[in-house]
Structures are given as C-alpha cells and as structure tokens.
Amino acid sequence: MAASEQEILEGLAEIVNEETGIAAEDVQPDKSFTDDLDIDSLSMMTIVVNAEEKFGVRIPDDDVKGLSTVGDAVSYIAKASA
C-alpha cells in the first residue's frame, strides 16, 4: 500500500534532517527548499536520491527543478507511488 501524504512528509523530513541537519519539524509543506530551508542544488540531489530509495519512486532531474516547496515534493512522491 502506498504511503499517505503525512507519512511521506514525515519520511521526507527525516531525510532532510539526516542530509542537512535542518530540524525535522521545520520541514513543512509550505516551506520552500531554497528560500526557507536554504538547501542548495547539491543537497537537493542527495535528498532526492534518498527519497527515491525510501519511497521506491524515480524523480527525473528535470522534474526536480519543479519541486520548489516541500508540499510539491510530497504530492509528487504520492502521485508517483500511487
């Protein structure tokens, strides 16, 4: 069964914390990866690759550019794993 959006958010927050040290509770759907969380493109790629493994999805590099907020990423993963 596919993970719920809440489960994806929690899993993603865990990865962001692990890879960047940002507190998991700061990783909320309305937060922008670059403007709010100060995550650079290389860090974003490490997060994407870990998320792919965790949720069993593939996020092509071109699609990564479209994921500006945490919520965008959660919806993308939810859709891709549905």
């Binding site: 692990e18 890879e19 040290g21 290389l42 790629m45 490490t46 690759v49 792919e52 493994e53």
Partner: protein, 417 residues
C-alpha cells in the same frame, strides 16, 4: 635565506590539534606517546581473513563522536579527521580577531578520499549510477579536507594540498612556512590527514610486502630499527598546527610552542617506492634544513625520525642521519611510528606536533619494541623511557619521506617566552 629573519618572516607554532591511533586529541596523544602505548590492533572487519595482514592502527576516537552527523555525511573520513584536528588547533591558538583574507590552509594527504571512492564504486556496481552520491567528487578529491577546513575557518588566503605520499604532512608545513615568509598570509592552518584502512589499500601494501604480518602480536608489530622488523603498520588520523608569523603572534600576545625554522626538500630519482639505499636524498634534505636554519649539526638535540619499521627504509634513514649529524652528535632519536603506526600523509604532521612538544616539554618520547637493534643503525635511539632534553635554546629535526622519492626535513627550534 640571507641574514637573520625578521619577525614578519619567522614562523611560530601557536596551536596544536590531532586525532591519532593513540588519542582523540593532542593531550591524550602526547600522554600515550610518553607512556609508550601502542595504537595497533587486530582488525575485526570480515575481509581481514582474506589478507596476510590482520592488523592496523585505527583512530582511537571515531570522528563521528566529535563531529555533527551532517559533517560526517558530507566529508570523507580523511576530511572528518582534518576537521577534528583543525578545530582543536584553532581553539588552542585562541585567535579571536582573524582577517580571513590573511588566513591560509595547507592540508596534505597521501591518498585523499579513497574510502569515498571505493564506497561509491560499490554503490555503482550494486545499485546503479543513480546511487552514486551527488557529493562524491567534492568528498573524494584530494583537496577536499583542506577545502572543508578552509570553509570551516573562513580562510581566504589560499587553500593547498601537497600530495607527496608519506611526506605530504611535512611538505604542508614547508608550504605553509613559505606562504607566511612570502607575505601571502599571516596565519596558516597546516597539517596532514589520512583515512585508508580498507581491504584494497591493505591488499596493495601487503602485496608490496610493505606491511608487518606480526598478526599475533599487534602492539609489537611496529618496531623501527629492530632486527625483527618486517614492515609498517597502516594507521589513520590527522595532525594540524596553527602557524603564524612571529610578528602576528607577538602582537596578540599568543602562547608560542616552538618555531619552524626551516625545511629541506629533495627528491631521490632512484626508484618509485624504494628509498635510496644510503639515503642520499634524505641526507641532502636534512643538510638543507640545517643550512636554512643557520645552525650546525651539533645544535640538533633530537630527531623525530621517519622510521616506519621497514627493513630498507629504517637503515637508509639512520645512515643518512649519522652522516649529516656526525660522529660527535648528541641527538637522541625517537621513532613514534612504533606506537602510532604509519599514518601516510598525516604522519609528517603528527610527528611535527610530537617534535614541537618534545622541545616545548623538553622530553623526547620513547621508541617502543626496539629490543635487538639492527647492526647497521648507529644512532642514539630513545628506548624504554622518555628522555629529558637539555635546557636553553635547542633544536630538533623531523624527517618525512614518501613513495616517489620525496624527502622532507624540518628544523624546529625552541622558543623562550
């Protein structure tokens, strides 16, 4: 160098940092060296049984205990060691008001991020190209450790990485001294780092017959100058010092450990891995360092030798030392690799720290496991107990040599404060 140096050209040591097989910082490392404690252990990794060598000298404290989790993830293990040592050295120097444009970093390494390279190659083969870490290149590049230290300290006067195998750490000291003397920096954080304990590296060194196979007696395996020596023991860790122009140190009232007076660098052009049999290149480096410091061989009271515990290398260095220092020399020689093992690119830096502390504390550490000295070794090796060094102004040599025929000798002088 013509004429006496000015305070702007004299380079002093004002901070020390290390993480080694015998201690996670400088005080614990120095205490272990004086106590003659070995850091060599039987390895427990499952690949060990596939090799003829089962022993190494792992870091006494894992860097994951000393760094934030993210720092561990984003640095190769060699970079982690460098960060730990650099932060200790920087805190020890207690510089509060540093212009980053005048601060440099020089951290040498022998093999760089080889563990990151190999781990990512494993990922590539097992899971595919998508699982190669996006930061693999900035983690595995040899300058990674130096660059991360510079980022951490805000050093903008230049970041450099000498790569000269087992002479890298000493070459870093020489490069840093030149940076200050040429006016490029007031302060340089200099050192060496290495993290290469891995099946592949161990297999390669073992196949060269460079490593000791005294598996049943790990603590007795590294035995420089002893007739029973059969190779070096691979160690890991980092040593970093803060070097500063004497003028800069004086202006801020810094505590000064010692002065790096000069360096001599030569190359053998003899063989890619074997030393010149009588240490001609090593002797020239030592003589060059003495001349650069403007002192006589008779002024040297102590030598921290390269002495890795290999059959050929120890004798070649001892002969070179005997030639340069002369028959009447009162210099006592310490081979601290008998305790730390051989940290490759970090060795010269850790041994610079040991040399600096020997002068500062007036105590030469012992050489352990020297039970039956080689007949071709005609130098006064400190055995058993530490030895007291004379009072008054004194000087010491620190030798480092590396595969490729690299020879680096540093002259370190005591400083009255």
């Amino acid at each position: 160098m013509s004429g006496p140096l000015t305070d702007a050209q004299r380079v002093v040591v004002t901070g020390l940092g290390a993480t080694t097989p015998v201690g996670g910082d400088v005080p614990s490392t120095w205490a272990a060296l004086l106590a003659g404690q070995s850091g060599v252990k039987l390895l427990t990794e499952d690949w060990v049984e596939t090799l003829p060598v089962h022993i190494a000298a792992p870091a006494a404290v894992d860097p994951s205990e000393q760094l934030a989790r993210v720092e561990v993830k984003r640095n190769d293990r060699s970079g982690q060691f460098a960060l730990v040592a650099a932060r200790e050295a920087w805190a020890d120097a207690a510089i509060t008001d540093m212009d980053g444009d005048r601060l440099g970093v020089v951290i040498g390494t022998g093999i760089g991020g080889v563990l990151t390279l190999l781990a990512n190659y494993d990922s590539l083969l097992e899971k595919g190209p998508r699982r190669v870490h996006p930061l693999a290149i900035p983690m595995l590049m040899p300058n990674s450790a130096a660059a991360h230290v510079a980022l951490d300290l805000g050093a903008r006067a230049g970041v450099h990485t000498p790569v000269s195998a087992c002479a890298s750490g000493a070459e870093a000291m020489s490069f840093a001294v030149d940076m200050i003397r040429s006016g490029r920096a007031d302060v340089v954080v200099a050192g060496g780092t290495e993290a290469a304990i891995h099946q592949l590296n161990m297999a390669a060194f073992a196949n060269m017959q460079a490593l000791s196979t005294r598996n049943d007696e790990p603590e007795r395996a590294s035995r420089p100058y002893d007739k029973g020596r059969d190779g070096f023991v691979l160690g890991e860790g980092a040593g970093v010092v803060v070097l500063e122009s004497a003028a800069h140190a004086k202006a801020r009232g810094a505590k000064v450990y010692a002065e790096i007076a000069s360096s001599g660098i030569t190359s053998d052009a003899h063989h890619i891995a074997a030393p010149d049999p009588v240490g001609r290149g090593a002797a020239r480096a030592m003589q060059m360092a003495l001349d650069g410091a403007g002192i006589d061989a008779s002024d040297i009271v102590h030598v921290n030798a390269h002495a890795t515990s290999t059959p050929a290398g120890d004798v070649a260095e001892a002969q070179a030392m005997a030639t340069v220092l002369g028959a009447g020399s009162t210099a006592c020689v310490s081979a601290t690799k008998s305790m730390t093992g051989h940290l490759l690119g970090a060795a010269g830096a850790i041994e610079t720290i040991a040399t600096v502390l020997a002068l500062h504390e007036r105590t030469a550490p012992p050489t352990v496991n020297l039970e039956d000295p080689d007949d071709d070794v005609h130098i006064d090796v400190v055995r058993g107990e530490p030895r007291k060094l004379p009072d008054g102004p004194i000087a010491a040599l620190n030798n480092s040599f590396g595969f490729g025929g690299h020879n680096v000798a540093l002259v370190v002088k005591s400083v009255e404060q």
